[in-house]
């Protein structure tokens, strides 16, 4: 059936399959056929690339595991931090959700060269505690470094306080009531992020001994290794090279 239709129609079908994170060529004959065609037919590949580009998507990987797509800047397919939670979220919440994403990726890929490994190799699952510890220890160190340099209210009003303070505040405000709850608040943010990533086909839940762990999927590994890791690094470098933003508020 797929051969009788126009290549553009088939390219559209392939993109549809690619947008279903849980579909696999091994289980769907049409998907498999289209992936094979993508490999075999140069014209079809160009059509798929043009189509995805027009939609604001880029093809990160095509293999027998399926197609992995990533949204381009300002794509309708891009999920912004503001859309991450149902209902409205505050600026601080969005910042923390973003930090949680980076911390999760940094826990899955602890070393630079991990990003260069074969994405077919299953990386070790991570736990909420590991991600939380990663983020908290970094913030605690920065807090130690900044001792005695508290921002004034003007800085706060202009958004010049550092991002780590937001994380520590989230920890502090709740710590005044019950120190055990403090961990829970930041843990909840991370757990929510992992759970949402699961919905997007980026993680699965597994048991590791007595605790629950989160196993990155191949799709997630490809996304971070092929694009997200280096792209966010690029954004950080650009920002640091912009004179006005380089300082940390002092």
């Amino acid at each position: 059936m797929t051969t009788t239709r126009d290549p553009a129609w088939n390219a559209g079908r392939l993109v549809q399959w690619a947008l279903r994170p849980l579909a696999r060529p091994a289980q769907e004959a049409e998907y498999r056929e289209l992936v094979e065609r993508y490999f075999d037919d140069g014209t079809f590949r160009t059509t798929v690339r043009e189509l995805t580009d027009g939609l604001g998507l880029q093809v990160l990987d095509v293999s027998e595991h399926g197609v992995v797509l990533a949204p381009q800047d300002d794509s309708v397919f891009g999920l912004k931090p503001a859309d991450f939670r149902s209902g409205s979220s505050k600026v601080d919440d969005r910042l923390l959700d973003g930090l949680a994403q980076i911390a999760i990726a940094a826990t899955v890929f602890p070393r630079a060269r991990d990003l260069d490994e074969d994405p077919d190799i299953v990386r070790a699952p991570v736990t909420v505690d590991e991600v939380e510890a990663q983020l908290r220890q970094l913030c605690e160190r920065l807090s130690e470094e900044a001792r005695g340099r508290d921002p004034n209210s003007e800085d706060e009003r202009r958004g010049l306080i550092e991002a780590w303070r937001v994380y520590m505040q989230r920890l502090d405000t709740i710590e005044t009531r019950d120190s055990r709850k403090a961990m829970r608040a930041t843990r909840r943010i991370i757990e929510y992020s992992l759970d949402r990533l699961r919905e997007f086909g980026c993680f699965t839940q597994v048991r590791r001994g007595a605790e629950i762990a989160w196993q990155p999927t191949r799709r997630y590994q490809v996304m971070v290794q092929q694009l997200a890791g280096t792209a966010i690094f690029q954004l950080v470098r650009e920002t640091l090279n912009t004179p006005s933003a380089a300082s940390s508020g002092d």
Binding site: R24, D97, A105, R113, I121, I232, L235, S248
Partner: protein, 483 residues
């Protein structure tokens, strides 16, 4: 000076040293035997680890690669045998625990599944000692296209297991097939089966090596050296294949010949030779398939080059996500951090589907019929609660008419007992009495008095005195009689 240097540190010593280092994780396993939980000490972990490598290598390249379940199935009898030798009852829970420990050790779970890292010293050209590190994996979890994960041996593990660390796979296979031939000729059939199986493993390795080059090319043209290395490998592979196919045909012919002249009573040997023939045929088929791949290999490269001209490629150097990304963001003022995260966030979660409102879908959804009842439930005929006449229709019309007439003649505020006595006195049948009672009961405690012929109320605690009916006596009032 140079001569003394080569005396002090022969060139291939380093290679041999590196070969030896690959066995150290297994050595670590063995030393762990003594300090493991008391109830696991009867297990020989190195033997078990080799059994694991054996099964994962044996399944490599086959449709159904080995996963944890397959390994567990293979290992269970071995573990039970070790239990029996130590006079311990086998326990599935303990077996699973041991398996997890073994897989964990072979995957290096203890170090977040990073490659094993062994340091060693060797002398350089100037005779100075230098420290080096060797990194390698033995067993790894790999994603399988069907969705699960499978256990795969690393190339090093295959070499280690096959005791061929220093040999080229091509040569090894030729050697093995020569061994098969000679064993067949000398009538050592069981050993020939074993060698044929080894040869098959080599053919799988060989095929994987070539396919890996083609796959790497599809993924990233820059990863493989297409100017010198790959054409050389491909040419050698073609020559190797042609030689192998000739040898395998020879073995097949020899095996068939053997089978023909072998007496039927010699069932064991016949089975062994047949097995050699099947294994060799499998190699032959695999090689024929590979031949096709090799012929098309050049096109794979050209296609891949065209395709990857558009492919995104990670810009080097690769960042350490914690130190180079997370920390700088945490140090930034929240305005800047927020801007970066706003743009970068979407890359970590992947595309989401924008939801489009569909009027057609909405209308269809609103008009859809109620979901049908599940079949298991027994269908209950609906009861029309307002159909007061349903029970009356059991009686013939003339009976109903007689009853209605008698009821109509009753005085207002008559008692049911009195009415029944009066009717019986006038010669009414039991059926007529039943209908009268029914009609009165319909008027009792009904919310809709209009539909009932009469209205009835109970008289506090006064029982009905009648030979046919029992219950409370009722007071019949005229209300509703108009209906």
């Amino acid at each position: 000076m140079a001569a003394s240097m080569s005396d002090g540190w022969p060139a291939d010593l380093t290679r041999r040293l590196r070969v030896l280092l690959h066995t150290l994780p297994l050595d670590g396993l063995r030393r762990g035997d003594a300090i493991r939980d008391a109830d696991l000490r009867q297990y020989d972990s190195v033997a078990l680890a080799l059994r694991i490598l054996d099964v994962v290598i044996d399944r490599l390249g086959l449709e159904a690669e080995a996963d944890r379940e397959v390994v567990a199935r293979v290992l269970r009898p071995v573990l039970s045998a070790m239990d029996a030798a130590a006079s311990v009852d086998p326990s599935q829970e303990r077996h699973e625990r041991m398996l997890d420990k073994l897989l964990g050790s072979l995957r290096n779970d203890g170090d977040a599944r990073r490659p094993f890292r062994e340091e060693y010293t060797c002398l350089n050209g100037e005779g100075e000692a230098q420290r080096h590190a060797l990194e390698f994996r033995l067993l790894l979890d790999a994603f399988h296209p069907s969705g699960g994960t499978v256990l795969r041996p690393s190339a090093e593990a295959c070499n280690l297991y096959l005791r061929l660390l220093d040999l080229d796979v091509e040569d090894a296979q030729a050697a093995l097939e020569a061994v098969v031939e000679s064993q067949l000729a000398r009538g050592r059939f069981d050993e020939a089966v074993h060698s044929a199986r080894q040869a098959r493993i080599q053919s799988v390795r060989f095929r994987d090596k070539v396919l890996q080059i083609l796959r790497d090319t599809r993924r990233d043209v820059d990863r493989v050296d297409w100017r010198v290395e790959v054409p050389r490998v491909l040419n050698e592979s073609l020559t190797h294949l042609e030689r192998r196919v000739a040898v395998e045909r020879g073995i097949l012919g020899a095996a068939d010949e053997r089978l023909e002249i072998m007496p039927d009573e010699d069932a064991g040997s016949r089975r062994a030779v047949a097995q050699v023939r099947d294994l060799t045929r499998e190699c032959l088929l695999r090689h024929a398939e590979l031949h096709e791949h090799l012929i098309g290999a050049r096109n794979v490269f050209l296609d891949a080059q065209a395709r990857q001209a558009f492919a995104p490629r990670p810009s080097r150097p690769l960042p350490d996500l914690a130190a180079d990304v997370l920390e700088p963001i945490l140090r930034m003022p929240i305005v800047c951090a927020g801007q970066i995260l706003e743009r970068g966030f979407t890359l970590f979660v992947g595309p989401r589907l924008p939801v489009l409102a569909s009027l057609e879908g909405l209308v269809t959804w609103m008009l859809q019929p109620r979901r049908p009842q599940p079949r298991q439930e027994i269908e209950v005929a609906p009861v029309d609660a307002t159909d007061l006449d349903a029970e009356l229709r059991r009686y013939p019309p003339e009976v109903r008419a007689a009853a209605t007439e008698l009821l109509d003649t009753a005085k207002a505020d008559a008692k049911l007992s009195g009415l029944l006595a009066m009717a019986r006195a006038s010669g009414a049948s039991n059926a007529v009495l039943e209908v009268i009672t029914l009609l009165v009961l319909m008027g009792f405690a009904t919310e809709d008095r209009e539909t009932a012929r009469v209205a009835a109320e109970s008289i506090d605690g006064v029982p009905l005195e009648d030979p046919l009916f029992y219950g409370d006596d009722l007071l019949i009032t005229a209300a509703g009689r108009a209906g």
